[in-house]
Amino acid sequence: MAEKGVKVFGMWASPMVIRVEWALRLKGVEYEYVDEDLANKSADLLRYNPVTKKVPVLVHDGKPIAESTIIVEYIDEAWKGGYPIMPADPYERARARFWARFAEEKCNAALYPIFTTTGEAQRKAVHEAQQCLKTLETALEGKKFFGGDAVGYLDIVVGWYAHWLPVVEEVIGASIVTDEELPLMKAWFDRFLAVDVVKAALPDRDRLVAANKARREQLLSA
């Protein structure tokens, strides 16, 4: 097997992909990034992830791994000596994994309808999403980051909210994460976005706004 090095198959606007980039950058691992057109997936992507055909896919010395949260744990374990992504204590690890799953299953599902609704339905959707995020916010209490004093696994998994939710708010013309409703989360957004490796991988905000505006129009007219 001649293939050496680290490749990431991704899409510039994908919050799932950015998790992988943040994790690699925290570890100081060099990687080649391959941007996919999801409407016209590359032969390589389909070869490396025939089961779900989705991004992100990490390829390490020719061996592919799919599913962003699984990839993040892999990165932590494969580059064990570097920056610690997962907590050391088993109970804290369990809590981090629990909240990551909660965010993925409940919060993301609660956020999506905001994007596809208007008026009263949207107001309801915003309220539901805020309740979900308030539950998640309890994991931040007394801490700078979800990971404690420094960024960790859970920050990487939910960190995309810090960049993407303000974009959604601009596109829909309504607030979700406010000082009144979600003070801890709002403060954490600022701290998280100030972290060097986080900033370095963020997609261009204007481009993201434009893409999300177009997508919302498409979804609302469907």
């Binding site: 089961v51 699984i70 990839i71 374990e77 109970y91 690890r93 369990a94 994994r97």
Partner: protein, 236 residues
Amino acid sequence: MASDDAAAVRVVGGWASPFVMRVCVALRLKGVAYEFLQEEPGKKSELLLASNPVHKQIPVLLHGGRPVCESLVILQYVDEAFSGARPRILPVDPYDRAVHRFWAEYADAKLPTALRTLRGMIDGDKAAAAEQVAAALAQLEEAFTACSKGQHFFAGDDIGFLDIVLGSYVGWFRAAERITAQTVLDEMRTPRLAAWAARFCGHESVRDVMPDAGRLVEFGEALRAALAANANAQRM
């Protein structure tokens, strides 16, 4: 093991739940003694509501009073908290761990809703559900060949994380087969998985906690009746 409250292990669950079964198999595999607290079907105990306020669902593992929720999270916790005990639940190699985690998530994405539909626990297109299960099992048959490398289980010569996750559905496969009168885990279509399932069920850590298919069918019927009467039943 002395009855030291700091080390006490309790499982809040139900005998019919595959997700609960996973936890019991893992603890038995590690030789960890535990107290099983059977929830009353259709009702949630104060302990369950207090220890899993977010989801209000079984299983919950209580270790020295501290709750761990979500079966896949619990399996990894058991492996890490009792890391001195053998066998290991997850593989040692990071790549193998990622592969096993991938297939575990795959099984949990493709199987539960389809199986509930086949068992009549939820309304849905049974033919579509059967197809979805068949397609998933075909994928998992290939995964088994790749992971097991000729050995008896996904993890090698003893059961591990992926065996426990997928194996916990075997009771439901068998119950669905009785209810629909069609094979689910088919010897012709997925011969390796069929043989693996028999080995899994015979394992000493699995035997006593794998629910009987007949009992599961009866349980499903009773639960549907309870659900009709009471909207707040727990997920099974």
